[in-house]
Symmetry: D2
Subunit: 162 residues, 4 copies
């Protein structure tokens, strides 16, 4: 029986302060549920904050990295997977997750959301970006959930992984 994996994705260097706070809280809550946190694994932005949050709650963290260089890993990643396939690794991130949570918005994040929808994975959007909400909700009305807080995101994730 494999463990439940929840992906938290979001901007790296361009993450906003609020995205980082949400990411930290998401990581913490995911760990408290006993789920594994999966991120893009780099030591930047939402990835790094989510991993830090998960480790603050003694969670297990999995980073799926775009390169093969150990220097770019978040200090809070336990298990590092080196894909050396750049943004194409985004598809692995979503296929390996039971639920995908987008925390903030950017081009890489948008690609992961779209790939998740394509792969029939549920996506939870935690962002105040109205255009992305309108676009992705229209693209997949049944599989996209819009939330206002990390707590709400986890509540929906719990209902989905049951």
């Amino acid at each position: 029986m494999t463990k439940t994996i929840i992906c938290v994705m979001g901007p790296g260097e361009q993450a906003k302060a609020r995205d980082l706070q949400n990411a930290y809280e998401l990581g913490c809550l995911i760990a408290q549920e006993g789920w594994i946190l999966l991120t893009g694994g780099r030591n930047a932005g939402v990835m790094d904050a989510a991993n830090q949050g998960a480790k603050s709650a003694d969670g297990l963290t999995l980073g799926i990295l775009p390169g093969c260089d150990r220097n770019n890993i978040s200090n809070y990643v336990d298990i590092a997977i080196f894909t050396d396939m750049g943004s194409a690794r985004n598809n692995i991130n979503v296929l390996s997750s039971n639920v995908v949570i987008a925390c903030g918005m950017g081009a890489g994040t948008a690609s992961e959301i779209a790939l998740a929808i394509k792969g029939n994975k549920p996506v939870i959007l935690l962002t105040d970006d109205r255009e992305s909400q309108a676009f992705f909700k229209k693209l997949s009305p049944d599989n996209v959930y819009i939330v206002e807080s990390a707590v709400d995101a986890i509540a929906i994730a719990k209902s989905l992984v049951k």
Copy 2:
């Protein structure tokens, strides 16, 4: 000196009649410019129509396929590349193209647009989907172009590959 490659992407089985007409016309115009047409290569929707258009004008067509099965190829693909990596091949499509043209909208198409923006590739949107226009234009104001016709798409592509 490598040849200019223009990617036309769009829905497969869910393509609308107007998307198919635009795709055929795009393929035809791309071939007339002497450019290579790159698509996802399957015998469905926008991919198939664009390839048919390009062959009607004696163009060269390149299909980057998600699987490794010869049965799913468009009859109008000259050169088939079998990736066997599913939707992750979308990143190869955009990285290999000088300009990316999205004809219609769907989850796979959205992932390619987002990956193109991430990879700093210019993207031309030929769709009447207003939410996607608003979202992607906001995501990358300088690299996303919104057009109303295949002719306009090619005019912009010409200015970009000069």
Copy 3:
């Protein structure tokens, strides 16, 4: 600080009885060292036996699968990564491992050994196939180790991950 990951690879359906015994023992010894076991994740051959061995010693097991189908996973995999990229995932397996142990021989195994050598990863061969020993040892005299038992393989792995 990321955890040490040791890859055990080998034939799936064509594995020999001795390969399966070695794989089980390798999995067990890897878990006893506190290392994570990484395999190709399928419920067949060396992959399955190594995972079973690791779980018998309360280890943590990571399966990097070629597809995206939950039906093919070894029952002894804790964390399943779905790549949906077929044999190209072999490169991820070796890049993510500190040491690669080949247990038995076959085409997939040979590709992983060669990719490991290409990626400058140490490779330990536990097989009685003389032609593969001669070939890979010549290909990379300094990075390929030939052993006769699981215990010897682990002894070398310990010296390499220090």
Copy 4:
């Protein structure tokens, strides 16, 4: 109807003089058959020499590159596919080819041969490396052909693509 694609692979920077001569001749003969030449696309070793040979005979050349950087392309590649997935692109090379010809030997070349065998593609070995001949012939007696010259390699390829 897609065009016939023949892959020539071999060492990059470590190629021997004889490998380069064979690669040039292979490229030339492949072009004369009207086949497309597929290589790893870099401006080094066997890849570069094969592409140069094919262009000397007015062939069409396809390069499947490991990165996404235009600076490393062979000057004799017509169509460049940028995978940005490192050595994992070797699987694409072999899956997209009707026949795979290995010209010389090295770790990358060995991984492509093994992946070709795994993918049920015929492989022709043009190398004087006896250990690789013994190993791969044993691994796949029916799908591996050992030849002494470029002319012999093409004769076998012709019999296989009929």
